[in-house]
Symmetry: C2
Subunit: 215 residues, 2 copies
DNA sequence: TATTTGGATTTTGGATCCAAAATACAGGAA
DNA sequence: TTCCTGTATTTTGGATCCAAAATCCAAATA
């Protein structure tokens, strides 16, 4: 996992910004001073502004004319809304995925799950979040609905910060692993509704745990 | 409807670009030459590029590093996928909207519907598309789920071009008016499932008509 | 004292300029 | 002829510079 530098400054800035927001180095509500941030990242303001535009599209930052960008804070209501939308979209994605599940697709999910377990053992929260994402996306990809998957991906992006919090606790990591294993079982049996229900519970557990940690 | 000029060049460019794409003046697959387009709109390339970034986020244009932007073409499969996603999201939006429907919300929808009928009578396709959008959004807004509404709005954006085609035909316009009236009836009676079903049919009719016009 | 108003400062939005990557094309070798 | 190769041109990506809007702060007024 040697993370090489992206080919364009804009993509580099985009990654750095995502990290800064999800790790909380750029705090919610806080206005983004382009000059200083550009200085820190050692780029000009132009690629920074374009990266901010894409983040605005994803809902991670907001923008007001002549006032500039600011980190969008997710209220608890927002978090619930994102998960509601995910419920709607991911249920359909999983249903379709089971219908046209390939060996390659299943293998991709299994590989990702192995990485999840390795990361969990090492208590590497960041790596676990990444592998977990690959696991779920591998399944969604099988649905053959690229736009749907893209949408789901941006929803995940907007709640990255909270998921890291969730993985910080050992018993949550264990729970995720078990639910993933059960999911793989259901997929192998082509049990669509079972998988849909299980993953709905998977999400509900996460959102509930996060709520109790913050509320 | 005196369309005043937006306060910032970037927003102006954004509107113009949307129009250019949905009306087909910028054709799908065609690469976007920033210099010439900036010249035509009489702005520099900077606000143009930022506007393109937001359109990229909405899926209207694509981008490849060092190759530039190009208009994304919606295949028929893409169109179907967008409508599938809309089915999922709008069903939930309507369900919630009926549950917490206010007099003000209903009034907003009725006002929009009056505009739809006026535009249809004048055979003003563009005005009808706009009013139609206000009608549906007025209903969705009642759900009290701003992120969901925002998502639905971007999905509408990405298929604007096709909807104009649909409204071009007289009998489609009549059909829309009747379905809207029936929808308002169901809303007044707080019949959520009825409204959900009707609007699902509303969308299915549109996508089917568009398919037959193009296929 | 509280409020408003005018200008100085900061910060964003936009234009111009420069560098680097990709494309187009001409010429030469197999 | 066809394919490769090196170079000129085009086009994008990024840096710098300028203008306009917003904020801040102090002084004047009620």
């Amino acid at each position: 996992m040697t993370s090489r530098r992206p080919p364009t400054a804009q993509q580099f800035v985009l990654e750095e910004l995502r990290r800064a927001i999800t790790t909380g180095r750029l705090r919610p509500g806080e206005p983004i001073r382009q000059e200083v941030l550009a200085g820190e990242l050692d780029v000009s303001r132009v690629p920074l502004r374009e990266a901010l535009k894409t983040l605005q599209g994803e809902g991670l930052v907001g923008h007001r004319a002549h006032r500039g960008y600011f980190v969008e804070q997710l209220s608890l209501d927002d978090l619930r809304e994102v998960y509601l939308i995910r419920d709607l979209l991911e249920a359909e994605a999983v249903r379709r995925a089971v219908g046209r599940l390939t060996d390659a697709g299943l293998a991709a999910a299994e590989t990702a799950q192995a990485e999840v377990e390795r990361a969990a053992e090492a208590a590497d929260v960041l790596a676990m979040a990444e592998a977990n994402r690959r696991f779920h996306m591998a399944i969604f990809e099988c649905a053959g609905l690229p736009r749907l998957v893209r949408l789901i991906r941006t929803l995940w992006d907007s709640t990255d910060a909270y998921r890291s919090v969730y993985y910080a606790e050992e018993h949550n990591r264990q729970r995720v692993i078990e639910e993933h294993r059960a999911t793989l079982d259901l997929l192998r049996r082509r049990d669509a509704e079972g998988a849909v229900a299980l993953l709905a519970g998977h999400r509900a557990a996460a959102v509930q745990a996060i709520e109790s940690m913050l509320g």
